[in-house]
């Protein structure tokens, strides 16, 4: 066992880490936007729109991420003649996939705020939008923090799967480095620990914030 191979090639692995962080961060931002939109439509939108949103959520949640990723990579060039690069396919696949889970979190969060509060707001003369913005969303946001953190962690974990379409993120770099140096134990173990540290600290940090804010989210 000799971890020098990891230290000697740290720049190569750090390049991969940078790509992992880039696609994960971008996918998290887009997933949040999709989740907010789709979850909001499912909670408050008109029936037909809510039904379309429900189909998106149900379909995406029933198909493995690997299959969504490969479909988005291989199908558009056949259908349209053009496709996305591996990197952007990775971001798109992660966002489409996790967006559905985020939408469920948002919907559950919004609907968890008791109806009496909305009614009270309306009775005080607030408009529906104002009630949602000032009363429902602030409490729902706090309640949604722990599951959101878990699924943001899941995005980082799932980004490893994009190595199968040759995105040069950390797992792919580890595979390439292993094929040159043949030190799989040191390289894969180190990379695994890096993932674990990123994902766990993300969840732990949000949990710490949540514990301080939780009383304000309780009703």
């Amino acid at each position: 066992m000799n971890f020098d191979v990891v230290l000697d090639n740290r720049d190569f692995l750090l390049d991969g880490l940078r790509v992992t962080v880039f696609i994960s961060a971008l996918a998290i931002v887009i997933s949040l936007a999709i989740g907010l939109l789709v979850g909001g439509v499912r909670a408050y939108g008109p029936r037909p729109l809510a039904a379309v949103a429900a189909v998106y959520v149900d379909v995406v949640r029933s198909i493995p991420f690997l299959v969504i990723l490969m479909w988005l990579f291989f199908a558009p060039p056949i259908m349209l003649g053009v496709g996305l690069s591996p990197l952007w396919t990775a971001v798109a696949a992660l966002a489409v996939h996790e967006g559905a889970y985020f939408a469920e979190i948002f919907r559950a969060g919004l609907l968890s705020v008791r109806a009496g509060q909305t009614q009270a707001g309306l009775a005080m003369g607030m408009t529906k939008m104002l009630v949602i913005r000032r009363i429902v969303v602030p409490q729902a946001t706090i309640r949604m923090l722990p599951p959101l953190a878990t699924y943001c962690g899941a995005i980082v974990q799932k980004s490893a799967v994009t190595s199968v379409i040759a995105v040069e993120e950390m797992t792919r770099q580890a595979q390439l480095l292993t094929s040159v140096t043949y030190r799989p134990f040191e390289i894969f173990t180190s990379v695994m620990v890096v993932y674990a540290v990123i994902v766990y600290s993300l969840i732990w940090a949000v949990e710490a914030v949540y514990k301080r804010l939780a009383p304000r989210g309780a009703s």
């Binding site: 493995p64 299959v67 199908a75 799967v161 993932y195």
Partner: protein, 223 residues
């Protein structure tokens, strides 16, 4: 829609046998993994809440580690790294089982721990006051109530496990994804195969997801 004319969907029925054996393997793998995960997950959860730090800390470490690591890397590690470093050589199926169960046990452990902790302390204290021993109070009072509460989240884990088994295709286990990808390599009917693969997963997982939603509604606890 020029590309529609070039499609040849006959590759799906002509390879139905291969895809069907892939479906069977996916189901078997999910089932066995779930059984193992429930066994090991329960052990990890009980160690976590038993009150002895020597047991609860290692359990917490194991659970948090396996929950934070990408499943794909875990599978690589068991299948490629283990035999290269030690004398342990597992078949692709066994390696898949070990990787999936390590991950699954961690998730199940968290669910069961949350279930046990959700039973109010007063119930256990009442049992102890009635003269039950600690283990009897746990087995007769806490556990039966916790079981009912953990069924819905366990169903959620089952559904994600069912989908996550697709990753074992990368270490050569002949599951549904692997079967489809090998048909793709032989026929070059990339669009038809990948679309069919997505539809097959959808048809299989959608009823499971709806059943899970129903369980969540049916077994909802209100205090």
């Amino acid at each position: 829609m020029n590309f529609l004319d070039n499609l040849d969907w006959s590759v799906i029925p002509s390879n139905a046998d291969l895809l069907w054996s892939g479906v069977q393997l996916t189901v078997v793998l999910t089932f066995v993994t779930m059984i193992l995960s429930i066994i090991f997950g329960t052990v990890l959860a009980v160690l976590r809440v038993c009150g002895y730090r020597v047991l609860s800390w290692p359990s917490a470490f194991v659970v948090n580690f396996f929950r934070s690591v990408p499943l794909l890397l875990l599978l690589f590690w068991v299948f490629y790294v283990l035999p290269a470093t030690t004398d342990i050589r597992l078949s692709p199926f066994l390696a898949a089982l070990v990787g999936l169960s390590a991950c699954g046990s961690a998730y199940v452990a968290e669910v069961i721990r949350a279930g046990i902790l959700s039973i109010r302390k007063g119930q256990r204290e009442a049992a102890l006051a009635l003269g039950m021993t600690r283990s009897k109070a746990f087995l007769r009072i806490t556990m039966p109530q916790a079981v009912r509460r953990v069924i819905p989240p366990l169903a959620t884990i089952w559904v994600s496990l069912f989908k996550d088994t697709s990753l074992v295709s990368t270490i050569g286990v002949a599951d549904l994804s692997h079967a489809a990808l090998s048909v793709r390599a032989q026929t070059f009917r990339v669009f038809e195969i990948l679309t069919a693969l997505a539809v097959i997963y959808l048809l299989l997982a959608y009823p499971q997801a709806k059943l899970t939603d129903w369980l969540h509604r049916r077994l909802r606890v209100e205090e």
